[in-house]
């Protein structure tokens, strides 16, 4: 490993000397109540083998029956990815022996998948990449293996333990065309896909718990050269960061081989995030021969237009449409719109505010959400949907700022307290004596006092140094502990200075 890694340091891969081609295969565990082909509840972290039945244990004589909701979820995903929903789709058996597979075949789809030929547009800041979706198909998940021994690795254990709780969980496999041109694009694709899936409410998309998993195919070739490079398949790219890092490593590795006049081998490699490198899986001599054939235990699924329309109508407004609406309808900048739409809950929050606020305050709402609010949410690592600040509270706070009731500076601390306590801004302001002083007669007295105490600064101002007024404003603010309405202070000061001989 280490020698390979050192090699990479000398590699001459740069963005311009090679072209990278990446295709991704993503598996999504659906958040249905029950498994794909039996009535067992889905569970994460239940006692081993406590969520199993004769069907998902592959006991002799048992038969699969398709979960209707899983099919509906799959159609939703396919529609959201602009796929053609195939009116006829069937299930195949993919045959291979592995102990996490109860039947030693996986029920999956092969040449008649549910959806095909779609795309997902991925925003890369200064350009948008349209990534083709080859297919969206349904299948069942495997069980889990626990390898004995302290390292938890297969190679160092002398036995493994199988837990079939996960076996039979509905899975959707989403395969892209080789349209992805860089590891960064791959990462953004997965971010966009996850956002979409969360909008559709079909999966919890937890990469940590394995409900969203990603494998990649990657090849590189000299820029401008004909044909395709030899591709490797990279497994275990199960976080956004690992996906990008693993692919970057692999780009470098392949380039180093080519530079040294060696050949890239077509192989499956495993990404290890600890060493941040990929390693070839022990290449087994037997090439896989899955012996796909139509599962005789299941009958075809026919999707007619009515069924597709029915499911379509249950799909909420998706991020791309929201971004457009925020821009054209609310007049928000592109960047704000993208940020707000990038998370279903954030968008919902923003839209609740929009319903309560005047349109000319929406930019202000957006600023608060993108700025202070997000910072506090991240610090507390909670979602906006569980925040104590309600949209009405944020709107009231903005009202108070706009009407001059409180200063921006105190608003920030009010906001923080709202975030921590969930109190209404009015309540906080009252209790803390934070209300902005916008009463002219009160301010006049303080201003006169400041003018009297700083004759030299007043002189400077009068002799044409207009900037000197800043110091005087600062003095007024200090005297009011920041509560003075700055605009009003400015106005009165100028008036007073002009009056003063």
């Amino acid at each position: 490993m280490s020698s390979e890694k050192n090699n990479l340091k000398n590699s001459s891969y740069t963005d311009s000397s090679y072209e990278t081609i990446i295709g991704l295969e993503t598996h999504v565990e659906l958040a249905t109540n029950t498994k794909m082909f039996c009535g067992c509840a889905l569970s994460f972290g239940a006692e081993p083998n406590s969520k199993t039945c004769p069907v998902c244990l592959g006991m002799p004589g048992t038969l699969p029956v398709i979960n209707k909701r899983a099919v509906e979820f799959a159609v939703k995903i396919a529609i959201a990815l602009h796929c053609k929903i195939n009116s006829y789709s069937i299930f195949h058996r993919k045959n291979y022996f592995y102990p996490d597979m109860p039947k030693n075949y996986q029920i999956s789809q092969y040449d008649y998948p549910l959806g095909s030929s779609g795309y997902l547009d991925v925003n890369m800041g200064d350009y948008t990449r349209r990534i083709g979706i080859t297919r969206v198909h349904m299948e069942e998940d495997t069980g889990k293996l626990i390898h004995t021994g302290s390292s938890g690795r297969i190679s160092e254990s002398d036995s493994s333990i199988v837990d079939f709780n996960r076996a039979g969980t509905p899975l959707i496999e989403i395969v892209t065309e080789p349209d992805i041109k860089s590891p960064a694009e791959a990462k953004e694709y997965l971010v966009a896909l996850r956002t979409l899936l969360l909008y559709l409410d079909v999966s919890d998309c937890s990469m940590e718990q394995g409900s969203l998993r990603c494998d990649a195919n990657i090849s590189i070739k000299k820029a401008g050269s004909q044909g395709m490079g030899v591709k490797t398949e990279i497994k275990n790219l199960n976080s956004f960061r690992f996906l990008q890092r693993g692919l970057e490593y692999e780009e470098q590795r392949q380039a180093a081989l080519i530079e040294n006049g060696e050949k890239v081998m077509q192989q499956t490699r495993h990404y290890d995030h600890i060493t941040d490198s990929t390693k070839a899986l022990r290449s087994k001599e037997e090439a896989h021969d899955y012996r796909y054939f139509p599962d005789p235990d299941l009958v075809p699924v026919f999707m007619d237009d009515d069924m597709v329309e029915g499911i379509k109508s249950s799909i909420p407004e998706l991020p791309s449409a929201k971004i457009e609406r925020y821009k054209s309808g609310f007049g928000l900048p592109e960047a704000d719109s993208r940020f707000l739409a990038s998370d279903k809950n954030t968008a919902a929050y923003f839209e609740s505010c929009a319903a309560l606020c005047k349109k000319d305050r929406l930019k202000s709402v957006s600023n608060w959400i993108i700025g202070d609010f997000t910072a506090l949410l991240n610090k507390a690592s909670i979602s906006i949907s569980s925040a104590k600040i309600k949209p009405s509270g944020l709107c009231s706070l903005i009202d108070m700022i706009e009407s001059g009731k409180i200063s921006i500076r105190s608003a920030k601390s009010v906001f923080e307290e709202m975030f921590n306590s969930g109190k209404e801004p009015q309540e906080i302001v009252k209790g803390k004596d934070m209300e902005q002083i916008s009463d002219g007669s009160v301010l006049e007295k303080i201003i006169d006092d400041v003018i009297n105490k700083n004759p030299s600064v007043v002189e400077q101002y009068k002799s044409g140094k207009e900037k000197a007024i800043g110091f005087l404003i600062g003095q007024v603010m200090a005297a009011t502990k920041g509560k003075a309405n700055p605009a009003l202070v400015n106005e009165i000061l100028i008036k007073r200075l002009k009056l003063n001989p």
Binding site: N33, A41, T52, N67, E286, R291, F293, V299, V301, F302
Partner: protein, 95 residues
């Protein structure tokens, strides 16, 4: 004429996860060859325009509602396990 070679039979045995002794292997190779030779008559059938039948039934869209059913008691799930470890099925070193 041989339709299937000993080497192919070995490959198939691997896919099917079956061990055969050398003696068994040569016997089954010749039996498979006989059978495959016999079934080869289907190549004579004119199937132009005949779709493959994987189902004699003309039914489709058989679904189950997404309602939870009682799972097995853990002990029943593991009842027939040849070897278990805790609440899991134990398998030897994966190679």
């Amino acid at each position: 004429m041989k339709i299937i070679s000993g080497q192919e039979v070995r490959h198939i045995a691997k896919l099917a996860e079956l061990d055969f002794s050398e003696e068994e292997l040569s016997k089954i190779t010749s039996q498979l060859d006989d059978i495959l030779e016999h079934v080869a008559i289907i190549t004579r059938a004119d199937t132009s325009g005949a779709e493959p039948t994987s189902h004699t039934l003309k039914i489709s869209n058989v679904f189950r509602e997404d309602k939870v059913r009682q799972s097995l008691a853990k002990e029943d799930a593991l009842k027939n396990a040849p070897e278990r470890c805790g609440d899991g099925f134990l398998v030897p070193k994966i190679d």
